[in-house]
């Protein structure tokens, strides 16, 4: 969470300084929820398909910081080599699919990754996880994907960050049910609900959901209630967010509260938190500096081929 917040704060500054290629999309306020998933998964065998606000989950799942900075800064050496940017990144071979902008599409893709493992007899103990926001739950793709995963009884965890806004659209213009978790029953999956501003609660609930999926409980849908503490992207000042909402319980900063929680519970000392902050700043600085000196993609050297097969042309 600390690393993610530090990185994203740096990315925001770089954006404002005009140093980023394209947009910047932050997960401020969603770190506890997202990181709880990333850290509950097994980096050596599980699948994690993050979405737009999952820097914390990505870091928790082991994505190197350099992949984020290289993609944001348009380096030719990043996982997307300048061919895609910002949060549209991943390494599918490392079980980290690269999201597309069309919401909900990752649910069926993760289902397919699990079905492949089942057919090959390699599913044992593997969990596939993906994240969406409340907006994505309105898409047909999300519905089709989750329904398919339920039919196949796959070991899958779907995190739904109910962050009150999809871009600028408030949740009451997005869906009419009282609580998104109620939909779990309709899909035939297990539903969980968590105060996503509460780190310890997130860790416990998300971990339990992951283990339920791992031990044969079928798909798990975890709805986290929170408020997005940033705009849709850094181009958006989120002036449509009412101050009462920001001041409400939903607007609590999960990082500040999380730090307070771990210190009060004697899990981590204040000194350790300070040290982590310093280490995070150093790591972020290094990742940014490296990406900034990387070569840019060269249009004259790109092979401009969308087919992997040799000899197939258009």
């Amino acid at each position: 969470m600390i690393i993610s917040r530090t990185l994203e704060s740096k990315l925001s500054s770089l954006y404002k300084a005009g140093k980023i290629v394209g947009g910047v999309y932050l997960g401020t306020g969603q770190e506890a929820f997202s990181a709880s998933l990333g850290c509950s998964l097994d980096q050596d065998k599980d699948i994690f398909a993050p979405l737009i606000r999952d820097q914390a989950g990505r870091t928790g799942f082991g994505e190197p910081l350099i992949e984020a900075t290289r993609t944001y800064l348009g380096s030719a050496l990043g996982p997307m080599r300048g061919r895609d940017g910002n949060i549209h990144r991943g390494r599918p071979a490392d079980r980290r699919p690269a999201m597309i902008s069309h919401l909900g599409t990752s649910v069926s893709v993760v289902a397919g990754m699990l079905i492949a493992r089942r057919m090959k007899g390699e599913l044992g103990g593997v969990v596939g996880a993906t994240c969406v926001g409340d907006g994505a739950t309105s898409t047909g793709s999300f519905h089709e994907g989750l329904n398919l995963a339920a039919v196949e009884q796959l070991p899958m965890v779907v995190l739904v960050a109910d962050n009150q806004f999809a871009y600028s659209t408030p949740r009451e213009r997005q869906f009419a049910c009282e609580n998104l978790v109620d939909r779990a029953k309709g899909y035939g999956v297990t539903g969980w609900q968590v105060d996503a501003t509460n780190l310890l609660e997130c860790l416990s609930v998300v971990h339990e959901a992951v283990e339920a999926a791992r031990s044969g409980g079928g798909p798990q849908m975890v709805v986290g209630k929170l408020l997005r503490l940033c705009g849709h992207g850094e181009h958006d000042d989120a002036s449509y967010m009412a101050s009462e909402l920001k001041d409400s319980k939903l607007g609590r900063d999960c990082l500040e509260f999380g730090i307070q929680q771990v210190i009060e519970n004697g899990i981590v000392s204040e000194n350790e938190i300070d040290l982590w902050g310093k280490k995070a700043a150093e790591a972020v600085q290094k990742a940014v500096a490296t990406a900034q000196t990387d070569p840019r993609p060269d249009p004259y050297r790109d092979d401009w081929r969308a087919f992997s097969s040799k000899g197939i042309n258009s």
Binding site: S108, V109, M113, A116
Partner: protein, 321 residues
């Protein structure tokens, strides 16, 4: 014994399942029921764990196939009708089609689309969709016209490491027969001269190949020798064979069963004009279906798509230019 076009598709899938453990079939009603057109009849019995019924969820069917493909499998997705692939369009064009270029990881999926009209099928069970997918980068579009091509191209499609949209024509399923599947395959991306000629070239694909041959047969009685080129795949598009044919005949009719705005016939004409303008003795012509939804009544349907009569008429126009 004879083999129909649908038999060839069935056989190709049966052999692929037997030859490769990484192949599986996914689609609506394809399990015990054997598929709406029986292209998978008995295959679930033979390969129970690798022939799966899907929910009515075209988007998720292709999304699932993408996930399986990047995890080492080679799925074949059966859309019940090509028309319904519109629901999966996003996953095909934006997810599968972009994946290799973006990530360097290829997506070896084959999506079988029962295309084209049969009498009485109406607007939503008759469409030709090859143009839509060929337009997007990263997607191969196969359009077999013969029984042997249906077999060989399907087998080759599954071996290819990129997404293939396999457009099989429903009108040919049971009507088109051959004594036996030709043992030698012509590779994908190579067009075939179905009927040699010297006065004009008809470039076409899928079921229209047979209508073009009928039209050519009629004109042959009057002494006209029409060359028919079967593209076999619209992407890749074998321009070399097309240009060589136009060099022989000097005249081009691009023929297709799809809607007339844009499309494969427009692409063929524009490429021939750009690269072989000097070979043309007359302006190239196009003949497509009409620019309306596909009508339900057999009389209307038969007049909506090109027929031997309308092709003959268009060829006469071309020969007199």
């Amino acid at each position: 014994m004879s083999v129909t076009y649908i038999d060839a598709i069935h056989l190709a899938q049966q052999e692929l399942l037997g030859e490769r453990n990484d192949v599986f079939l996914y689609g609506q009603d394809i399990g015990g029921f054997g598929g709406a057109f029986k292209a998978t009849k008995g295959l679930q019995e033979e390969f129970p764990s690798r022939v799966l019924d899907s929910p009515i969820s075209e988007d998720a069917m292709v999304g699932m196939a993408i996930g399986a493909a990047i995890s080492g499998m080679r799925p074949i997705v059966e859309m019940q009708f090509a028309d319904f692939s519109s629901i999966a369009f996003n996953q095909i064009a934006n997810h599968a089609g972009t994946h290799y270029y973006r990530t360097g990881v290829p997506v070896p999926i084959t999506i079988r689309l029962p295309c084209g009209g049969t009498p009485g099928s109406g607007p939503f069970h008759s469409q030709m969709v090859e143009t839509l997918y060929a337009h997007y980068p990263g997607i191969i579009v196969a359009t077999p016209a013969t029984v042997s091509d249906a077999y060989h191209l399907l087998k080759e499609s599954v071996e290819i490491n990129d997404p293939v949209v396999f457009c099989e024509h429903k009108f040919l399923y049971r009507w088109l027969k051959t004594a036996e599947i030709h043992p030698k395959a012509l590779p994908l991306g190579v067009a075939r001269i179905t009927r040699p000629g010297k006065h004009a070239t008809v470039v076409t694909y899928s079921a229209m190949v047979h209508e073009a041959v009928r039209a050519a047969d009629r004109l042959a009685k009057e002494g006209w020798e029409i060359e028919v080129v079967d593209l076999r795949s619209v992407k890749p598009l074998d321009l070399d064979t097309v240009i060589a044919s136009v060099a022989r005949t000097g005249r081009l009719l691009a023929l297709g069963e799809a809607f007339p705005w844009g499309g494969v016939t427009a692409e063929v004409v524009s490429r021939v004009v750009a690269e072989g303008f000097h070979l043309l003795d007359a302006p190239p012509l196009r003949l497509n279906a009409k620019d309306t939804p596909i009508p339900y009544h057999p009389d209307l349907w038969a007049a909506h798509r090109p027929t031997p009569e309308s092709i003959v008429e268009k060829l006469r126009e071309l020969l007199n230019l």
